[in-house]
Symmetry: C2
Subunit: 274 residues, 2 copies
């Protein structure tokens, strides 16, 4: 197995991608009426997944993290770069299945694989960079929430453990352009991601209630990550998703529920280090 033979098997697509895998760089020709958005997410054995997990599901989860960030900007994906650190235990069959899962989601979302890098190493690591495009000046940011805005989520929360095939909310995110004042994806739990939106917007939040999937506990719905739903603010009256609360002035970053401060307990990979 060498790098060229692995990469040669993988599909490439998208009309704006002039050159994909096989040169020093990929070449992309931007459209004049679009801004580009970029995100990259790490996915490590023992941190974000366990090697006992099905490899195709792991591959899908490695990509969905970045695609969900693209959705949160109101953008649509164009291409990705995938860097893999491959340990001894990950044989060709495992790596092929990992790519299968990743590429299945890439194909579903029209995300071309434009390149990447490979190395051997001690711990399986994927770093997945996705470039997306959004109409010029229309990207949804975290910092636009205003006092009086209503707070919404794109779907019911707390069900990520039951989802074999997490899906990024790309169409939903695109539908928020020109309507939402701020948007973030729920990758680390509602409590933590709402805090981040409020900090960026210099506001606080009061929650009224959370739409929960059947069987989910309140704690799962509020604190668990990987739901990959979108959390957004907009003037009252928007008929999209579920209304869960209101943006208030002052106390930047604070989130209140039933009169008390909701502690952010979502998963912060870095905070958990120490």
């Amino acid at each position: 197995m060498d790098e060229q033979s692995i990469l040669a098997k993988l599909p490439r697509q998208h009309p704006n991608l002039l050159l994909g895998i096989g040169d020093d760089c990929a070449i992309f020709r931007p459209s004049a009426d679009e801004d580009l958005v970029f995100t990259t997410d790490l996915f490590l054995e023992g941190v974000h997944f366990e090697r006992t997990q099905a490899p195709d599901r792991a591959g899908r989860r490695a990509l969905v993290r970045s695609l969900s960030d693209i959705a949160a900007m109101g953008a649509m994906p164009r291409f990705c770069l995938v860097s893999l650190v491959i340990p001894e235990w990950a044989d060709e069959t495992w790596i092929a299945a990992f790519y299968d899962g990743l590429l299945q989601l890439a194909n579903e979302t029209n995300t071309a694989l434009a390149g990447g890098d490979l190395s051997h190493g001690a711990q399986f690591t994927a770093d997945v960079m996705v470039c997306g495009a959004v109409p010029k000046g229309k990207a949804l940011r975290r910092d636009g929430g205003r006092p009086g805005d209503a707070i919404y989520v794109s779907g019911e929360l707390g069900g990520w453990r039951h989802r074999a095939d997490p899906k990024p909310r790309l169409d939903f995110g695109q539908s928020l352009i020109g309507k939402a004042t701020a948007c973030i994806d729920i990758s680390d739990g509602l409590s933590m991601d709402l805090r981040r939106l409020c900090l960026a917007s210099n506001v606080s939040a009061v929650l009224d209630g959370i739409p929960m999937l059947p069987g989910a506990t309140f704690s799962e719905a509020v604190h668990d990550g990987e739901d990959y739903e979108l959390l957004f603010t907009a003037p009252e009256g928007l008929q999209l998703g579920f209304r869960i609360g209101t943006i208030r002035e002052g106390n930047p970053g604070a989130v209140f529920f039933e009169g008390t401060l909701l502690e952010p307990k979502g998963y912060d990979h870095f905070r958990h280090r120490t």
Copy 2:
């Protein structure tokens, strides 16, 4: 030390970068007359560097790999995304010094730090993605070498061990636009990278001689990587760099020196796995 406090310290620049660190994605507004080029390179403890190395030098080397790919396309860098996997041994001081070295080179080359990701893990790993820009349709590729073209390198080879501050040949690469027929950077050794250029161009090469740095052996000059000089082909008579040979028809990928086939012995991180 948390992710936001690390990232908040880092500079951001470049007028086309509308939004850098701190949202779900960075936002970049492309110029209408440019194509964008993208590359990403892994940099692992025990594979690409040793933890006994000075951390600022390691940081510089982690970035120069990708910048050299940008130079090989004739492009200039715009921004980078830096993902780090941080093991227990790498304390705040080490990480700060690593960023210092990386950002010093980023500043020298007008490369904005637009984002990234952080995780803890067993083995220090950096994955550095760089986006560059090149006039529309002018990017230098590997596949344009033609029989009869002369082969050139941008500088003397074999000296990487002595270079504390490797520099990407960005200005040199830019000067090749409209002149070179094919270009690649020498990151894995002349013998291997010339083979790659010849394979992509469906041609072979005959070498006449190699410009060597004082003290370098022939083997170092021909096979060692990390020189980060550019290797390119052009019609005879170009007054740039050093002429080292000629492109020939047939035997795709073969490189001849003094009548015999030169085996590619450069460093292939993936080939060395097994």
